[in-house]
């Protein structure tokens, strides 16, 4: 099974962990692994668009408090996807989310990373429309400009949560298969070279003799 690393970023009040808990809780997984705690979770997803393809997300949570921001690079290195979460009732949290997007683009580069911007706490706007402080159009326009995936969800009701992981799953899977195809083509051209790359006594930095 293909595994993908997904990192969760966002302010501590936006409910980023709740989104993942909702996702894991609503999913059926016959091989659920016991975990040490709720900061790392893994979950398999059956892709709707690709028949018979199941992938596994390894979900890395980060601390949202500003003072722990410096730890984030330890988490997003080698990530395949990032979920950058804000709260639709807190405009400041979008500003923070945008700074995460910038950092990711600067440090990781979007050719390596699928970034999804997620507005959480949609349920609060449904009961009271005035609670909404971030217009969906604005967030959408920003996402389009930055080439991000975008969703509004409610971790509380579960609305939209499954779709996030489906869409990210499709993107990382398609990237991976395109990449594998490209490298397979490259490999077949260099079969001979590959054979020579095995550790051998001729390699001065090898002790495999």
């Amino acid at each position: 099974m293909l595994q993908f690393k997904l990192v969760l970023l966002g302010d501590s009040s936006v409910g980023k962990s709740s989104i993942v808990h909702r996702f894991v809780k609503d999913s059926f997984d016959e091989f659920r692994e016991s975990t040490i705690g709720a900061a790392f979770l893994s979950q398999t997803v059956k892709l709707e668009k690709h028949q018979d393809v199941t992938i596994k997300f390894e979900i890395w949570d980060t601390a949202g408090q500003e003072r722990y921001k410096s730890l984030a690079p330890m988490y997003y290195r080698n990530a395949n996807a990032a979920l950058v979460v804000y709260d639709v009732t807190q405009p400041d949290s979008l500003v923070k989310a945008q700074s995460w997007v910038e950092e990711l683009k600067h440090k990781v580069g979007d050719q390596d990373l699928v970034i999804c911007l997620v507005g959480n706490k949609l349920d609060l706007c449904e009961t009271d429309a005035s609670a909404r402080q971030v217009d969906v159009e604005d967030a959408q326009a920003y996402s389009k400009e930055q080439k991000l995936l975008f969703h509004e969800v409610s971790a509380k009701t579960g609305a939209g949560v499954g779709q996030i992981f489906q869409e990210i799953g499709e993107h990382v899977y398609e990237r991976k298969t395109a990449e594998s195809a490209a490298s397979a083509a490259a490999q077949s051209r260099k079969t001979l070279n590959v054979e020579l790359q095995r550790p051998s006594t001729n390699d001065s930095t090898s002790c495999c003799a």
Partner: protein
Amino acid sequence: MKGPEGDALDSFTVSQISDENKMRSNSGFPVQNDEEELIYDFQAFVTQLRDPRADPVLRYTRSFLNNFTTKRDMWTCEEQQKLVDDFKVFVYDKLTLYEPFKSLDSAKLKNAQEGIEKLIMGKLYNQCFSPCVEQRFQGKIDPSHHQDLKRDEKLRLRREEYAFIDPGLLEIPNSLTHRLHKFTRLSGKELSRINEYKAPRDKMVCVLNACRVLFGFLKHSGLENGGADAFIPVLVYTVLKSDVRSLISNLNYIERFRYSEFLHGESAYYLSSTQGAADFVANLGRESLHITDEAAFQAQYAKHQEYVKNERAGASGNADASAAKTNTVATSTPAPASTPAPSEYIRRPLDEATSAILSKVSELFASTTQASEAPDEQSDSKTQLPQPDEDADTTALAQELQEQENHRVLEELHVMFPDMDQELIQDVCEAKKYRIGVCVDVLLTLSS
């Protein structure tokens, strides 16, 4: 340690895992975290290695160790990492070619791979673990190993400088402070056992145990779904308050020498988190703290620095006195307290068991075989196999040491839960196979 930018340039980290979980559940192993639940039996591996049919594997390993230790006096850290990694890829492939490894099921094959890692890293520890490298080469070491030591020293100094801070300054919720100290102390104790093992896997298990204790505590405090927001501050607090020698060197050693395929998922997450927490503490300044009352903080800080100064004066006074005493016995300069001799890093009973087992095969590695000699099928090596009664001794020793270890866990838990019935604690320990994190979790549930 590579910077995040450098790593980000690496290709996708997607790894193809076989239906590993499925296979394990079919073969009767619980589907659980790799590090913990897979039955790990070093003795079984050693027995397999002594099978005459395993001779090629043994000879490859011996040759590798010989080359590593004799080809060059000192490899750089990056070279070491590449050599060890290349060898594992190479020899793991050989395991699938030669009996008795060839016909093992996937779980037992994994055990053999673990065994190889433990074996070679046990032999190469003094050349690969930064404080030991420093000890050997007295300062003339390569940049990466040197960097580890510098960062460890930085961590030690910051820890000393900020040892006084209370949980609120790290944004740990007030609701936790009641029992925080007890649990971070236990977690710190588990973490400090990292210095008592040589194998990357064993060190990794110490990190996981420390994290598990913290999660047991968070769960009991109603923060089980708090994710990293709840966990990271408590982990940072643990690193700050505990006195784990050479923590950064240890974590980097795991990262470098744990086989990359074994270091994924949850293990990788908790290793990165602990590295992050150690970095955070090593770079701690007042701007990283949640200070609500500046004047009170200043006063506390000043008072603590005074205390540290006095402690240092006292300590160096003692050191001078003891140095004066030993001066007459003019031998090699005694190492400062912060850099103990390599042998001091290994004091654990369980590793003694390993050493005892290893000594049984040591003659297999003591050979003066030419480095260039390649293993071949018709080898007629006159390997001295240990006598059966020695085997029994080793098994008995391993058992005895395991019992000591169980006793230690039991004692720790008695201290943690003084109001709880002793027999109950013992029952829980037995049911949970003396795995401290799980035991803490159960006992917390029972005590609430």
